[in-house]
C-alpha cells in the first residue's frame, strides 16, 4: 500500500546546503526540484507541479520560509503539502509558533542526514496512510517532542 517516492521541492539560498539536500533526497529515490529562494519555490508550483513535500529554509531572499509557508497554507492546491522548515534557531517558543502556523516538522541546520531521513520517512508514512488514524495535529505534536529530543542529544 502506498508509494515511497515523494515529489519534493527543496528551497535554500545556501548553495552548499541545497546541494546536500538535493543529493540526499535524490539518493533516497525521491523526485526533487531544488531552488535557491522562496520566490522560485512558489513559481515552481505552476511550472513543476504540486509537490507532496517541501523542505524550505526559513531565511531566504525574495520570499522567506515563513512567507512561503503562509502562501502554501492558504492556497487550496498546496494546503496539505508536508512542509519541513530548516532553521538555525533552536528556540522552543519559535517551534511551537511555527507548528501552529502550519510547519509540519523542523530540522536544525546544518542538515544532518539522519534527521532528514527521520522527518521525510514520517512525512511519507503520514501522506501514504501508513500512520492510520493519526491526525496532522498529532503528527506535529509528536514532531515537537522529537525535535526537542534531538536538541537535547546534541
Amino acid at each position: 500500500m502506498g508509494r515511497s517516492t515523494m515529489k519534493i521541492i527543496a528551497a535554500d539560498d545556501n548553495a552548499v546546503s541545497l546541494h546536500v539536500l538535493r543529493t540526499t533526497l535524490k539518493y533516497w529515490g525521491h523526485d526533487v526540484l531544488a531552488v535557491p529562494d522562496g520566490g522560485q519555490a512558489w513559481k515552481a508550483l505552476d511550472s513543476w507541479g504540486i509537490p507532496d513535500m517541501m523542505v524550505i529554509d526559513r531565511e531566504m531572499p525574495r520570499l522567506s520560509g515563513d512567507e512561503l509557508l503562509e502562501r502554501i497554507r492558504v492556497d487550496t492546491r498546496t494546503k496539505d503539502v508536508y512542509v519541513v522548515m530548516l532553521t538555525a534557531r533552536n528556540l522552543e517558543s519559535d517551534m511551537k509558533e511555527g507548528f501552529d502556523r502550519g510547519v509540519d516538522d523542523y530540522i536544525g541546520k546544518p542538515v544532518r542526514e539522519d534527521e532528514l531521513r527521520e522527518s521525510i520517512t514520517k512525512g511519507t508514512e503520514f501522506l501514504t496512510g501508513k500512520m492510520g488514524s493519526t491526525t496532522r495535529d498529532e503528527l506535529r505534536r509528536g514532531n515537537i517532542v522529537d525535535f526537542n529530543r534531538r536538541r537535547l542529544l546534541k
Partner: protein, 114 residues
C-alpha cells in the same frame, strides 16, 4: 583534533558519502568569494540588517563543514549585527577572512589527500 575542519565529523553528518563531501567543498570554493564580498559591501553600507543577512549566509555555508572557528566567528558577527553594533565589524571580518583561509587550506588538503 583540528579546530578548523574534521572530515569524519562532516561525513557522519551527511551520511558517510566522501563523494558528496568533495562536491560540497567544490561548491564552497566557488561561492565563498561572493559571500565575503556581500559582507564587505554590507559593512560599507552601514546597514546592520544587511550585515546580519550577509553574515548569516556565510554562517550557513561554513556550518556545513562543522561548527568550528569560522562558524563561531560568523555567529558572533551575526549577533553583533543583530544588536545593531557594527563597531567591531571590520576587525571581525579580517579575522573571519583568516579563518576562511585556514578552512579552505584544510578543505583543499582533504580533496588532495583523502
Amino acid at each position: 583534533m583540528s579546530e578548523v575542519f574534521e572530515p569524519d565529523e562532516v561525513l557522519e553528518q551527511i551520511g558517510g558519502s566522501t563523494e558528496l563531501l568533495r562536491e560540497m567543498i567544490e561548491i564552497f570554493q566557488t561561492v565563498y568569494p561572493d559571500d565575503v564580498q556581500r559582507i564587505e559591501e554590507s559593512i560599507r553600507s552601514g546597514d546592520a540588517e544587511a550585515v546580519r543577512r550577509a553574515v548569516h549566509r556565510m554562517k550557513g555555508s561554513v556550518s556545513n563543514f562543522g561548527k568550528r572557528r569560522a562558524y563561531q566567528l560568523s555567529l558572533r558577527m551575526e549577533e553583533e549585527a543583530r544588536n545593531n553594533d557594527l563597531t567591531r565589524m571590520d576587525g571581525l571580518l579580517s579575522e573571519l577572512k583568516e579563518e576562511l583561509d585556514a578552512l579552505l587550506a584544510e578543505l583543499y588538503s582533504y580533496t588532495v589527500n583523502a
